[in-house]
Amino acid sequence: MSKLRKRKGLDGVDISPAQWVSLFAIALFVIVPFWSSAIAGFKDIGELRTTPFGLPQSWDPKNFTEILYGGSFFRFLWNSLRIAAVTVLLTLVTSSMAAFALAHIKFFGRTSITSLFLIGLLFPFATAILPLFITIRNLGLLDNPLGVILPQVAFNLAFSILLFMTFFKDLPHELIDAAKMDRCNYLRIYWYIVLPLSLPILTTVAVFAFVGSWNNYLLPLVMLNNDSSFPWPLGVMQYQGQYITNWPKVLAFLTLTTLPALAFFLAAQRFIISGLTGGAVKG
């Protein structure tokens, strides 16, 4: 046992010196673009040209305050937040209901409906973007947040239903059978028994839907034309279009929009990872 301990380094972690060197090299490669973008907002354009890596001469927050007081910034964030929140809510409700029925109710057509939804995992949403535009236009939802929200929910369904079904199937059958004995109907079972037990998977799906919506670019690009309804990715591209190579301004804008989101995503990291690995969270 003591021999084994010796072979391992710090705290029993087994990483060779060569591995350490390369890990630090990769870390540098990851950090440098973040770092220089974050501090670029404090520099002026001339200073950026001479010292792009170093600390700014003075921590002048002018670029940041201009954006914060500029008016459109909070509107972009609010638009993004609103679209993401409604997307999350509708995704959770529709996919958990459907997944519960598909996992626990025996009815005619169950297997074919399940495989219909799972077909959705096969193709990317980009293949449908063009006819989706026509459908949304015919529904009169262009330039309406719902024109982004509803397709997002629809394209979330396959993956979310799969995650929910896996989770629901593992719930103790006795609970549901007992409720059935008590002549509880399925809607009540779903609401009073299944949902309260499903907090971990609800969170995983919610985080996924939120991240997807918050970062989505193609769908709002096609559906929204009026910049008062732009979410932040369209806003930041518009801003970049205005200031082209005034990088301090563009990067300040980018820092302000991405920082809160990055903080949130890092806090929710556990759920993102468990979703990636098949929703194997058990609370």
Partner: protein
């Protein structure tokens, strides 16, 4: 108890109807959304692809397979196809081995290891648009980091995003920066699920670290590897959001992917027949890859 079961069996058909009714209430919202906004648009793309249409008025100009001919003979289509292939191949040959290699070091449990893990995962949670803009700045020939590195090395650096020879390698580097941590996390989850006793037992028997890696760890996470390879291929086929802020498909349409090709030549120009045909081609490639991969790799893995 016995009484209720008698009653229940007597009412079997109405119970079945009730279950069907309750199931419908639960499923119908999802089904309407899915059919209306996933299946229906796909069928539409298929239909549009046989017509010449600018998006307004009825579909009347039936063209048969002309749109498909136009897509396949479009000057940029082979470029887009080649770029997607290039992205997939470099992901498989460089990015995934690197991610696996990092995962083998970082799957262990210690606070400083998880700092690295989180750091490497950071670019993945960053929005594609943000990552694209950050790297456009890095590559900027005037104010970016690349010319600054050139200054310290006393060499003239090219404007990488403006030169045909450099633009794809530059994009590939960004793709690695962005998705490397994602693949690493998939491998880490796999490695952490290997029972510790297996590795300890091998160590006790004096099996070398290299052999443990090649003969125990990597074979035991082959399903994680299969998933990550699949994501890398499908991700290359769908890449769009990074291309727009970096190059918009330029210079001279040399950095288009299939989706940016679809956006540029189908949607922006409102050539819906052409776009529909491109969608169908993309769809066929995606479904083909998926089915082939399932049959060849994933099915064999279950055996």
């Amino acid at each position: 108890m016995s009484q209720t079961s008698v009653i229940q069996s007597g009412k079997r058909s109405t119970r079945g109807q009730k279950a069907f009714f309750q199931a419908s209430i639960l499923i119908v919202p999802a089904l309407i959304l899915f059919i209306g906004l996933v299946i229906w648009p796909l069928l539409n793309a298929f239909m549009f692809s046989f017509y010449k249409w600018n998006g307004f008025g009825p579909l009347t100009d039936f063209e048969g397979l002309d749109n498909y001919g136009d897509v396949l003979t479009h000057r940029t289509f082979p470029t887009a196809l080649r770029n997607v292939g290039l992205l997939a191949v470099t992901s498989l040959l460089i990015q995934l081995p690197l991610a696996l290699w990092a995962a083998l070091a970082l799957y262990q449990k210690a606070w400083f290891v998880s700092v690295f893990r989180t750091l490497f995962f950071l670019p993945y949670v960053l929005a594609e648009i943000a990552a694209g803009l950050i790297w456009r700045f890095v590559y900027d020939g005037e104010y970016g980091l690349v010319p600054a590195i050139g200054d310290t090395l006393h060499t003239e650096m090219p404007f990488v995003l403006a030169e045909r020879a450099w633009v794809m390698p530059a994009i590939i580097l960004v793709v690695m920066w962005k998705y490397f941590g994602f693949h690493m996390m998939i491998y880490i989850a796999g490695l952490q699920s290997i029972p510790n006793e297996v590795i300890e037992a091998a160590r006790m028997d004096g099996v070398s670290r290299r052999k443990i890696m090649w003969h125990i760890k990597i074979p035991m996470i082959k399903s994680s590897i299969a998933i990550s390879v699949f994501f890398a291929i499908v991700g290359s086929l769908q890449l769009f959001d990074l291309i727009v802020p970096l190059t918009g498909g330029g210079p001279q349409n040399s950095s288009h992917t299939l989706v940016s090709f679809l956006y540029e030549f189908g949607i922006r120009r409102m050539k819906l027949g052409f776009g529909g045909a491109t969608s169908v081609v993309l769809f066929v490639i995606c479904v083909g890859v998926t089915l082939l991969y399932r049959r060849l790799v994933l099915a064999r893995m279950d055996q």
